[in-house]
Amino acid sequence: MPETHVHGESALLTVSHLKVAYPIRSSVLLRRIGDNVAVSDVDFEIRPGETVGLVGESGSGKSTIARAVIGLVPPSGGRISFEGADITNLSPRRMKDVRRNMQMVFQDPYASLNPRLTVRDIIAEGWRVHRGIVSPKDWTREVKELMDRVGLNPDYSDRYPHQFSGGQRQRIGIARALALRPRLIICDEAVSALDVSVQAQVLNLLEDLQADLGLSYLFISHDLSVIEHICDRVLVLNKGVVVEEGTALELFENPQDEYTRALLAAVPVARPWLVEETP
């Protein structure tokens, strides 16, 4: 299902005025005695083939936004629509159908793969849940194609996750997300746990997949250099509020907000002497 990136095309995902609050409950009767507002009034949209980045410090609400979009936490206000349909308060059963087109890659490649399943079963699990995408007799062949696609040796499909390195496990996670042929992949700190040399391999893979399959990414990271590299547009979050939004180029070349500037100034520079010499 290749799609070309056309500007002005209608948005794949639209988030408007999103608010998420976690309840604070009393210790005895667990009555709701207050709210801890994690995200307030966040607006953004993702077009087909586009990568939108969420960046901010821990506690800024970036993961909460991802979890609200994919339906893991209920929003307290606002509207989320995907492929033109409102998915804000769908029932779990209806949400399941939406998730076929919206997959997630998690941060920790050690914790996010079931250690008792082989790679084949991990990748095929989505087809077991969402019937009718791939018929069971084709599962093995399709798994091998996917493994080849993400740069894993297809002969290893009967191995278990512990037999793979961190970077390879993250590739398994990406293959699992691709299995359902989604249109949007949410990458929540997907490369943060990887060594730099391997991180670069996975970032290149994500870009290749996007070019070939027309995927959109919601890319979450605390690492500004990764965000700058992979994202088309970036939202900077501070304490649950978007303080600045723009294309990656605008934002990193000419930050307007005080907080964005502070964040950028703190990013370690590999060769600080070059910066000092060219003010």
Partner: protein
């Protein structure tokens, strides 16, 4: 003035300001799958007032180096099987562990990556920071508490007079790391080892903690070893760096020397993998393949399967650290083909 293999057993070269001199250190771990050589011939010096960065990816042996110095290797699996760790003339490897512990308590201090698991959750911060004063200097409770308060102010805990009575969970990650630093510098160590001290912290907090370490060093003149996987974090603070791969130091020299003219293809690969060194939209140039399994190291240079410069000699002969013509003194790399690597860059 660098540590090279030639300097081994050369007592005269160990001038007074060399705090710690690690010479040809070999560490092995016994695992169910066989014996793993985690460190193989690691040598470096640290002087007073100087910061050495030890850089490498996971499994390269950088943390094992710190553990070996501090006699913290997990027992009984890990053991030092060769080499020396000379601290101001004393070989720590030959000393009994109890003596090393005593030295480490007062003269060599260490800070770890995860400050929450290094602090005891059931004691007040003040009690924990005051502990070295009570245990090592025999101070009374009241006096030790006062010294702890001073330290907390020194490392920049706001409102220290009231916060000193709080428990670890009441502090943020950056504040906890400041508390760990306060405990580490309590007895004014001559050498501070930081094992990924800022990896768990946000960028803005990371910068504050690195600045704090640099300030403390300028004030006390202590030597520092900073262990990190992030080449950017240490670039501002360290003067020298050692790049580790599969248990060996593959390149060492001044930070600028290594970063501007990397002479080992692995250092070069690490530097070009950093996204910020690449223009937006440009493809990253990662190192192909993945780090080797220490149980089955490739023959010859252990980097050769991932190396774009590898030739036949790399597959058969282990390269030694050497300094070819034209490099700044002390910049050495363990590569047969450094000249080609340099002209390519």
């Amino acid at each position: 003035m660098m540590s090279t293999p030639h300097r081994r057993n050369d007592a005269a070269a160990e001038t007074d300001d060399v705090l710690l001199s690690v010479q040809d250190l070999q560490v092995e771990f016994a695992t169910s799958a066989g014996v793993v050589r985690a460190l193989d011939g690691v040598s470096f010096d640290v002087r007073a007032g100087e910061t050495l960065a030890i850089l490498g990816e996971s499994g390269s042996g950088k943390s094992v180096t710190a553990q070996a110095i501090m006699a913290l290797l997990p027992k009984p699996a890990g053991s030092i099987v060769g080499g020396q760790v000379r601290y101001r003339g004393t070989d720590l490897v030959a000393e009994p562990v109890s003596r090393v512990r005593e030295l480490c308590a007062t003269e060599i201090a260490m800070i770890f990556q995860d400050p929450l698991s290094s602090l005891n959750p059931v004691f007040r911060i003040g009690y924990q920071v005051a502990e070295p004063f009570r245990r090592r200097l025999g101070m009374g409770k009241r006096e030790a508490w006062a010294r702890a308060l001073e330290l907390l102010k020194r490392v920049g805990i706001p409102d220290a007079e009231t916060r000193i009575r709080d428990y670890p969970h009441q502090f943020s990650g950056g504040q906890r790391q400041r508390i760990m630093i306060a405990m580490a510098i309590a007895l004014e160590p001559r050498l501070l080892i930081g094992d990924e001290p800022t990896t768990a912290l946000d960028v803005t907090v990371q910068k504050q903690v690195m600045d704090l370490l640099a300030d403390l060093q300028a004030e006390t003149g202590m030597g520092m070893i900073l262990i990190s996987h992030d080449l950017g974090v240490v670039a501002d603070v360290a003067q020298r760096a050692a790049i580790m791969y599969a248990g060996r130091i593959v390149e060492t020299g001044s930070i600028r020397g290594i970063y501007d003219t990397p002479a080992h293809p692995y250092s070069q690969g690490l530097l070009s993998s950093i996204p910020s060194n690449t223009a937006i939209g440009e493809r990253l140039t990662p190192i192909v393949g993945s780090p080797p399994n220490l149980l089955a190291l490739p023959t010859g240079c252990s980097f050769h399967p991932r190396c774009p410069f590898a030739t036949e000699v790399c597959r058969t002969t282990v390269p030694v650290l050497r300094q070819p013509d034209g490099w700044e003194p002390g910049h050495v790399a363990a590569c047969h083909r450094s000249e080609e690597v340099l002209t390519h860059a």
